[in-house]
Symmetry: C2
Subunit: 452 residues, 2 copies
């Protein structure tokens, strides 16, 4: 079944790509909007856009929100403001706001002025919230009922509204001022007595989130309490919208992609940019930083020129020291960064975690230092160099562990994304300090080394 | 509200930790099972276990499945088989099976023989599926109705069963043989005429997954189609269970953690192991691999001893070449690895992606090579060394890009986790080849360099 669909997507994309096609709705029969979005993504920009334009408005308004971000941006650059406004009018409020956020900024007013009056208010209200906040990901469409109506009336209300709201799981109960009180799951409408008032049967012990809460925090709440949807309220407790779990899945995936792109030393564009120039731009700042780090290492090595001329073998082990420092630093920082990002980090355990990392580094540093000692003794038959290298490696491992654990915590404290600590910046820093430490000690004991 | 709960969790954990506590249910009032799990995780093993044992069985069966994996494993080692069986009896089938999978293997038969007879069959059936398959994450509890009953009867059925199944969103419709036909969303029970048969109103155009499908693939389907739950069927289409989106969130987070731990060069235990010894064990294989890679680099450098003795400055730029090769390789491999893991990779685009990476590397390699050329000219006033370094960097960047893109694709083809390509293995490999390339060319042109 699944393979069939994948196969069909491939075939259709191939057909369109070859230029040998007639745009006909039949060809898409049985496929859902996300499948069509996949076809469009697989096509070249021009063909994809022509295909998209050939689809009727209702369907294309469903396809657009599930397009790749990079493709969506390209389309919004090309499409007329009128066409975009027609599309946006057909979307639910959160998708509409997300779409407007992708439009090139000079075009936004042109689109906004062409929206329906009623949509306009909902969408502009959403645009005012930070894109990464609960307000930025919530939808305004939800079924709201007053606390003093009966279950029977609530059922009538659901019947009347079932076409306007997707995924109806809960009714949201408010008081006269619009303050959120609780929910009535749809299944309870069936099992409760229709004469009862909703505030007699509503579930009050449920999670709600403030409209300004960061989306990562919202995601952590969904994940912790296994939620399907959550009410969004303002500072006074007034109900503003709801967030559903399908949007949270996007947040969790984006968050993981963000962590991963930082670790890889590249921008978030990595996951949606399509043009080589954009990708190159996303990656180059990190590479330039790493290049200057490397040049810094070269300068440090130049500073130890005399020692290296005396004992050239010292230079051979520079890659060992730098590689191990970098690897150990990334191991230690990654777990901290990830726990901070997913909300799993418990501040009361900070000291315990640092202490634990220290123990790990003593264990591994001891083992690695010993291995290096033995290898150097066997290979070069030089006990002095072996001792120096074994001890240095032990120190570098311990020290990179501590730096790797502390730096993300400090960055987090001063509100800088701790994920930066897992990228090339920290490893470059570790490299330079590792070389200074290693050759510094070697230079101090140089006479002893040179066999004096 | 949220902060209050966090604060209370901290206070209670602190109270228990201090030893100055009386186990009383009141202290936990207003907290939900995931909050209590958080308290237990923040406590030392002994105190946490004593606390857990003091909680009544119904509640502790809700807490256990949301405990940290590391804590859960520790508890299962300590608890009597009888106690574990009592807990497992109270859990829904998928949590029960997950719990049994964490029990030390010698203890599993002791627990299984103490289970209720009816639970036993459901759980053993689940245990037979691969833990990472749809069967491994599905629950057996769901509301199944025959296709020829009326909506009215279906409503009666929901009323009778509402206590036994959580999160009722859909009824699952089957034929006489138990073959899955479609779903009836609960909200449709309200809006449809009670006289109609369910097969007249059921939704047939919905996603279902085979019981053997890999959980990552299931997660990709949830994410693509914005699903809340999905029916799981066997090869003949028989309905076996359902997977709900809360379990999919766990899959997505685990998957991201797995990618991230591979990139960091550590085992998956990183995210749940609590003892330093276990963490050290998870990390050491990667470090030993990197250490031998570093020793390999040292040997390669030793092989170029003569060249380095002639022009010592060559050695200073080894860290530049290795660091840049590593960084570029990780950038290119990460995106491929991530797309493969999340199902976003479209095989028909392979050639286009490789070609795009090549363009990116030409752009960035050219820029980085030029920067290095200029810096070396200014710093060392050595045009020859600058030319060598600029060209070598350009080549290493291009080459690391191609290797970084192709290696994960090849690993994937031969069914090895492509995420291994983002860890220390690839960077170590890049390091050694980068050094050979750089010093190899330098040696060929050595006379020219040495100013001959």
């Amino acid at each position: 079944m699944r393979e069939e669909i994948e196969k069909r997507i491939e075939d259709i994309a191939e057909l369109y790509r070859s230029g040998d096609y007639i745009f006909s709705p039949e060809i898409l029969e049985g496929l859902k909007p996300p499948d069509m979005a996949e076809i469009i993504t697989a096509l070249d920009m021009g063909v994809g856009l022509a295909f998209f334009k050939s689809i009727d408005l209702d369907l294309s308004a469903e396809i657009f929100p599930v397009l790749d971000e990079g493709v969506a941006r390209e389309f919004l650059e090309e499409l007329e403001p009128e066409t975009i406004a027609l599309l946006v009018n057909k979307m639910v409020s959160d998708n509409a706001a997300d779409t407007i956020n992708l439009i090139p900024s000079e075009k936004i007013p042109l689109v906004l002025e062409k929206l329906n009056r009623e949509d306009y208010r909902d969408i502009v209200a959403l645009l005012e919230f930070n894109e990464d906040s609960a307000g930025g990901i919530m939808a305004r469409e939800l079924l709201v009922i007053k606390k003093d109506i009966t279950i029977g009336k609530a059922i009538d209300f659901v019947r009347a509204e079932v076409e306007t709201v997707k995924n109806i799981q809960n009714l949201y109960v408010v008081d006269k001022e619009g303050v959120f009180l609780g929910i009535v799951p749809v299944v309870n409408l069936i099992i409760e007595n229709p004469e009862k008032r909703v505030d007699e049967v509503m579930d009050v012990d449920i999670e709600k989130v403030n409209v300004e809460m960061d989306q990562e925090e919202v995601a952590a709440i969904f994940s912790k309490y296994d939620l399907y949807s959550v009410a969004v309220v303002d500072g006074k407790g007034k109900l503003l919208g709801r967030i559903t779990v399908d949007d949270i899945i996007d947040v969790i995936e984006d968050e993981a992609n963000e962590d991963i792109s930082r670790m890889a030393g590249t921008g978030d564009e990595e996951f949606w940019a399509r043009s080589p120039l954009m990708l190159a731009k996303a990656r180059i700042p990190w590479l330039i930083a790493a290049l200057f780090g490397g040049i810094g290492s070269a300068m440090v090595l130049n500073g130890f020129r005399e020692s290296l001329e005396t004992v050239l073998s010292l230079a051979f082990f520079v890659p060992v020291i730098t590689a191990m420092g970098g690897n150990v630093g990334i191991q230690s920082s990654t777990i901290v960064v990830r726990e901070l990002a997913t909300g799993a980090f418990n501040p009361s355990e900070t000291a315990r975690k640092i202490f634990r990392e220290l123990k790990v580094s003593l264990l591994n540093g001891g083992l690695l230092g010993s291995i290096l000692f033995i290898v150097v003794v066997i290979w070069l038959r030089d006990y002095r160099l072996a001792t120096l290298l074994g001890l240095c490696l032990f120190c570098v491992v311990s020290w990179a562990t501590i730096v790797g654990t502390l730096v993300p915590l400090l960055l987090n404290k001063i509100n800088i994304d701790p994920a930066l600590a897992t990228g090339p910046f920290l490893t470059t820093f570790d490299d330079i300090l590792g070389i200074i430490f290693y050759l510094g000690i070697a230079t101090i004991f140089l006479k002893w080394f040179a066999g004096g």
